[in-house]
């Protein structure tokens, strides 16, 4: 007997092709999984999977190449934008992306990211900012908020001796070589949707050869923050978003014309 239409199974949510079936090693509640999925969905939608080469970094996402189902290389700490430059310069028709955390990109890799942006390298950078070093156990990062307690700022980050956080999107937006630099957040459904649109724009920028694109994604680290995932999301919204305002920091006029 034929099923009538309302009884047929309809797939509404499945694993993107650009993700492997592997189980990630990320902590429960971590937003890396969200970010991975958004990137994979966009790659699927744009049909880029077999043309994309990812560059993994050092940090919690060091094994990103086990979770994304396309070609990958894995960079030394901080050097992903340089490695991506090398790949892209010899394979200009490929799509090259880096996936980096805030310790990797904003501390040890500051020179590489600034100069990749300044050169207008035609690559896309996904920058996960969770305000601490996750993999090594929650030390102070360049992005740690003033007063925020970490394992290496146990009394809270004292700006007198430990300096101020670095606002990477704002900083890179001053460079003429940067074409698309935006900050989004992964703390609720609405912002996750906006983040996905930004990821799409970053790849669209690269596909059109319009130069350097970066999407900063405010993220949570429940394990090292010592909070439940839910409280972490709330902390992100209440503490991180005011310090790191969401928005478009650099959109080149040619990028602004892109209609998705």
């Amino acid at each position: 007997m034929a099923l009538n239409e309302s009884e047929m199974e309809t797939m509404v949510y499945e694993r993107p092709e650009a993700l492997t079936n592997g189980i990630t090693h990320y902590c429960p509640g971590c937003t890396h999984g969200t970010a991975h999925r958004l990137i994979a969905e966009v790659i699927d939608e744009m049909g880029l999977r077999d043309k994309t080469i990812g560059v993994a970094s050092v940090g919690c996402s060091v094994f990103a190449y086990n979770y994304f189902d396309f070609d990958f290389v894995q960079a030394p700490h901080g050097r992903a934008p340089a490695m991506a430059t090398g790949v892209k310069r010899v394979l200009p028709d490929r799509i090259v992306m880096t996936y980096q955390g805030d310790g990797d990109l904003a501390s040890i890799g500051m020179a590489e990211i600034v100069h990749a942006a300044a050169r207008g390298e035609n690559i896309s950078v996904f920058f996960l900012n969770n305000a601490n070093y996750g993999m090594t156990g929650g030390q102070m990062a360049p992005t740690t908020l003033p007063g925020q307690k970490t394992t290496s700022s146990p009394n809270g980050r004292d700006v007198e001796t430990q300096g101020y956080p670095i606002k990477v999107s704002e900083l890179l937006s001053t460079l003429d070589g940067a074409s698309y630099v935006v900050r989004r957040s992964l703390h609720d459904a609405k912002n996750i949707r906006l983040a996905k649109k930004a990821i799409r724009m970053a790849f669209e920028t690269q596909v059109r050869g319009l130069g350097f694109s970066m999407v900063e994604l405010l993220s949570i680290c429940p394990t090292n923050w010592g909070m439940t995932p839910l409280n972490s999301l709330q902390w992100l919204e209440e503490k991180m978003v005011p310090y790191y305002p969401l928005g478009d920091y650099k959109v080149h006029p040619a990028v602004a014309e892109i209609k998705i």
Binding site: Y65, G86, R89, V90
Partner: protein, 370 residues
Amino acid sequence: MARELMKGNEAVAEAAVRAGVEAYFGYPITPQTELLEYMSRRMPELGRAFVQAESELGAINMVYGAACTGKRVMSSSSSPGVSLMLEGISYIAGTEIPMVMVDVMRGGPGLGNIAPAQADYNQMVHGGGHGDYRPIVLAPASVQESVDLTVLAFDLADKYRSVAVVLTDGSLGQMMEPCELPPMQPLKTSFPEWSVTGSEGRERRSLSSINLDPSMQEEMNFRLMRRWQEVEANEVRYKEYFMDDAQFVVTGFGSSGRVALTAVRAARAEGIKVGLIRPITVNPFPIKVYAEIVKKVEGILVVEMNAGQMLEDVLAATKYQTPIEFFARMGGIVPFPDEVLNEIHRMVKGPLTTEGHPRDRWLNRTAHKK
């Protein structure tokens, strides 16, 4: 083909171009900079990649990325810059992908100076970067040899999935000599099965130097060392001069080997039966050659432009069975042939000993120098 008068650094660059290098990434540092400058003009002209990086760290990691695609890639630098690149070189070795590195050595340690020296021998031959890996290290002594060994470096790097180093110095890099350049090779059209190029039409690939599982890491360590054994078995290269009837031997690599040859010729003119051994591959080191001559000669003089770095390898190869003397200039000073000739005279006159360390005797002899 006609010979051309070329500066060492530029000749190396053109040799690399003709060997099919598809990407060059570098950073200015004296006395290497002409190589980068030459590439900045030549590579774009051929539609190949050139980037002046933000630092040596940037440059070596651009090399790392480009090398992952299986194409021929290179960088060049000089001593302090090479030190900065060693992290990346270790990663490249750990990922088992080929690259060519040119080190135009200068005086050190530290910022040192920009004059010719050979004090990067240990840095290149005995590691420098972390972990167990062995780069192939070729040491030319003329502009022509710099050209030939640059081409060879690309072939060996590909053959052994290895880092191959051309170890020159400020003198070889800056001097102009006539040389014959190789023919222009066509660029590679097929790429190894490990190349990361995008997964179109095949299973996806990834390249990395991480092995969190120690047993996997050990397996990789064994693989690297067994591959190195093949290099040792097949790729040792050296040059011998006047060795047929030699009672004494002088040995040195690169520039100091070349200066020593002039001194050996002068000694021969005086009737002294002295020969010269000049290693071309300082890694793999021609151990057997030295082990053999121990049986035939009365003494060996090691000449270097460092404080006796290759000397240790000669001592290890000869197992202290024959008297060894040492002479060096350091700090960016190239020895004069006459200085080496004096040392040959001293060796021939004796007395010679296998007791003590040759470096200590040399330091004692030069005690008057501050």
